[in-house]
Symmetry: D2
Subunit: 281 residues, 4 copies
Amino acid sequence: MKQHWILTLSCPDRPGIVHAVAGMLAEHGGNITESQQFGDPASGLFFMRVQVESAASHEELSAAVTDIAARFGMTWQLDTVGRRVRTLVMVSKAAHCLVDLLYRERSQNMPIEVVGVVGNHTDLADIAAFYGKPFHHVPVTATTKAEAEARLRELVKELDVELVVLARYMQILSDELCRDLSGRIINIHHSFLPSFKGAQPYRQAHERGVKIIGATSHYVTGDLDEGPIIEQDVERVDHSRDVSDLVAIGEDVERRTLARAVRWHAEHRVLLDGHRTVVFR
Amino acid sequence: MKQHWILTLSCPDRPGIVHAVAGMLAEHGGNITESQQFGDPASGLFFMRVQVESAASHEELSAAVTDIAARFGMTWQLDTVGRRVRTLVMVSKAAHCLVDLLYRERSQNMPIEVVGVVGNHTDLADIAAFYGKPFHHVPVTATTKAEAEARLRELVKELDVELVVLARYMQILSDELCRDLSGRIINIHHSFLPSFKGAQPYRQAHERGVKIIGATSHYVTGDLDEGPIIEQDVERVDHSRDVSDLVAIGEDVERRTLARAVRWHAEHRVLLDGHRTVVFR
Amino acid sequence: MKQHWILTLSCPDRPGIVHAVAGMLAEHGGNITESQQFGDPASGLFFMRVQVESAASHEELSAAVTDIAARFGMTWQLDTVGRRVRTLVMVSKAAHCLVDLLYRERSQNMPIEVVGVVGNHTDLADIAAFYGKPFHHVPVTATTKAEAEARLRELVKELDVELVVLARYMQILSDELCRDLSGRIINIHHSFLPSFKGAQPYRQAHERGVKIIGATSHYVTGDLDEGPIIEQDVERVDHSRDVSDLVAIGEDVERRTLARAVRWHAEHRVLLDGHRTVVFR
Amino acid sequence: MKQHWILTLSCPDRPGIVHAVAGMLAEHGGNITESQQFGDPASGLFFMRVQVESAASHEELSAAVTDIAARFGMTWQLDTVGRRVRTLVMVSKAAHCLVDLLYRERSQNMPIEVVGVVGNHTDLADIAAFYGKPFHHVPVTATTKAEAEARLRELVKELDVELVVLARYMQILSDELCRDLSGRIINIHHSFLPSFKGAQPYRQAHERGVKIIGATSHYVTGDLDEGPIIEQDVERVDHSRDVSDLVAIGEDVERRTLARAVRWHAEHRVLLDGHRTVVFR
């Protein structure tokens, strides 16, 4: 019985990588159905994502990749197509991103399994309940922040969480937590970064009189609003829109930008290239 | 014989403005063909642009508008539809914006008359010549900057220039000149402002790993890259694009963004609302 | 106490309309906050939408508009800003448009009140229930079509429905029903009309190898897929997308296209100009 | 001395293709800098484009590819990166696409060499002259059509033309000529195909009241407006735009859509998959 695999890898660029990988897959009866490569002249790194059908077991393939990886100094990951990534969604009061993710999980086969929703407020508990998701109320105040993060770490561990999505979660995580979950937390920032970092980006955008607003989905690092960008999108506005209009228009941009970033991450289409990303769409 | 007029005005918002203006136009046999209004709650200002067919003379209409303007404290302008605004285009070495403006003047009825091209280099003299435009070489060095600006002022006066377009002119104008030509100089900045102000925005954009690049056309004020934005546009890019690709892709965005801003200005569709713009498209 | 009114009107174009309307509003102490006009040279019709604050009663304003309307041969409508239009949503099995409309009604102040959901299948009853909306199962077969339409007419009457939204309702309504509800039914067609009329537009699009797919929201007339277009939007695709990908990508385009059309209709921004629409955004 | 090669190929899909190609390239000291593959489940065909640096000669590489091609039943092409494709541009009276292509050839390193411009009118002879291109006036009337095509065939032969671009050339070519130049003629159609085939698409679009207009660049086949689509793009319009506005707005869409298609073709990024295209951007 053949299975459908996704292999992603990166390593210092040099001749022979594709040949070695393709050869190894051919030896395991693999039929490549999708493959993308990119060599970044700036970083000197090579990136590859390949989907392959093969009857080999996970152990066999892993062992074979391990061999090649040693030769080329590769970082790699092997997964099956369509496996649902265990995801924890963190929210505050704004519903649009949560509603959208839960809808897409259920109806659009986005390959995530939302294993829990964490809110620092309880406003969105009913939405989580409607979709049959456990809701964890973890309030955050100046004095309970450390405690809240400890609870979050527990949940990540207990629920075997692979991906944390900040779906308009309005709290700033500690540097340490960001580091520990590096490459596994995705945030949606409600501006077209690097424009309008920080608080109230739509108010800033209105004051500056921009003609297009946007949203940015990025990995979270300790450096606020500076993490590697996964996806951005925009919408045209004009002088007649006030701040609340921008907020409403922005909701649509935010939710679709976040949804794409989460989907691409879950499909192993996003690879880190320093503080930039390679996205094999 | 009826003529087709454009009246633009702004004033503190209060009841009765539209009625007064529409009444005055009706008294002069005016038939309104296009009209737009906007009241900005933030600034408390009211803006109006109206196109009207009327057999009245410029003197008659001007006098009538002057009356109303006194009552409401209006700033206003009266022009005829399609009159070509006398325009001076300033360039350095990059051709794309100049080629585009000259093409649109000739073939697309953009209501400008390019009365001269100023270059601090001579690279684009042949393009100006092909379109039959006088080319003025005004070199700029650290020591000749004042002299160059004096020459520019002369040209503006001699050629009766109404609008100066910085079509990728890579020099910074003095505060004084910016002030004197306030509301009459349009620049194209090769980034999606306020992202990537200053030099080499495409290099900055590449380093930050953005997924969309843009351009911004704005009025020039003494405050570099901070003038009121008229138009912005964007293009999607991905990880495989290097800086030179971004530059090439950006050229298309720049030229169309600048062309729209110049057209709307020349059609009196852009009104200043503090450091923001109202654009009646 | 002032109220915020929306007046929309259309009539044969001729001088004096704006002046007459603005004068009438001024007489009733009206302060115009937003106003748009358009004269269509092709049809010879004039269209106007004005938002005005006034302390006058509905009766007073209606009487005053009636007077002017008689003089100019106007079709007109007077409503208050923000009043929720009583809306019936019709669905089959696809959830995306329904979920989106209900979400926007609740969270984004879209000025509709969904007074009921009609489904020819029961798949979406749980979503209606979650949002507290009565769900009416009205199955349709070849033999029960007349009966189903009779039931629909009853619901429109009982629930005092002002707007019917076909949110991916996969049944074709009779000519007679379309005529009777003319200007009050909005459909979302899952193609960029007039491309790919009829069934399975995404399959058609895939076969034709288009590089952009789209959706079209339009008023329903007896002439299938030919009603006046309110809004269209698109998304870029490439060769690697199969039909099911197009369907999933299309869902996002459909729901935002439909949401805009419904919002604009409910805000009285859409006026009919023959089989075209004037949309005052 | 290493050269930079582009190899494109397609063949029936089956395991081992990538491995065989990568192996062959590795044997010739090749370093893959860019590579894309696509297997189309619908047609059962596999497509690949690979850029590779190698010191091997054209003969050596060709011989090696010929071997593999025989095994897999491949259609293939081998070229060097940046080689300029000999291009003949055909025009009538509209200048925008010609101006744009000539500008991009000179300033943006589009890898084409325009070896001649053919016009059935002489309006654009001066633009050709400005860019130093021979202009051939080949008038077409009902009675001289055969003669005109004979002249065109001569030019294609004499000038060793690899690509013919119909840059708003308003004449219909014979089926026979289309067949003979199959895969080597690119047209720009001024509508979002398959909407508004045939004449005056902007007039049709205006009458239908669409909210978005577009352009389509496609290979020309005997079947008018039905050839494989290479690229499409769109622009938003509203009710206030008349037919001449749509024409002017459309010019921008047409020229950028055509420019992308020509560039991708010249960079060997477009492969035929039946009457669809695979575009490796």
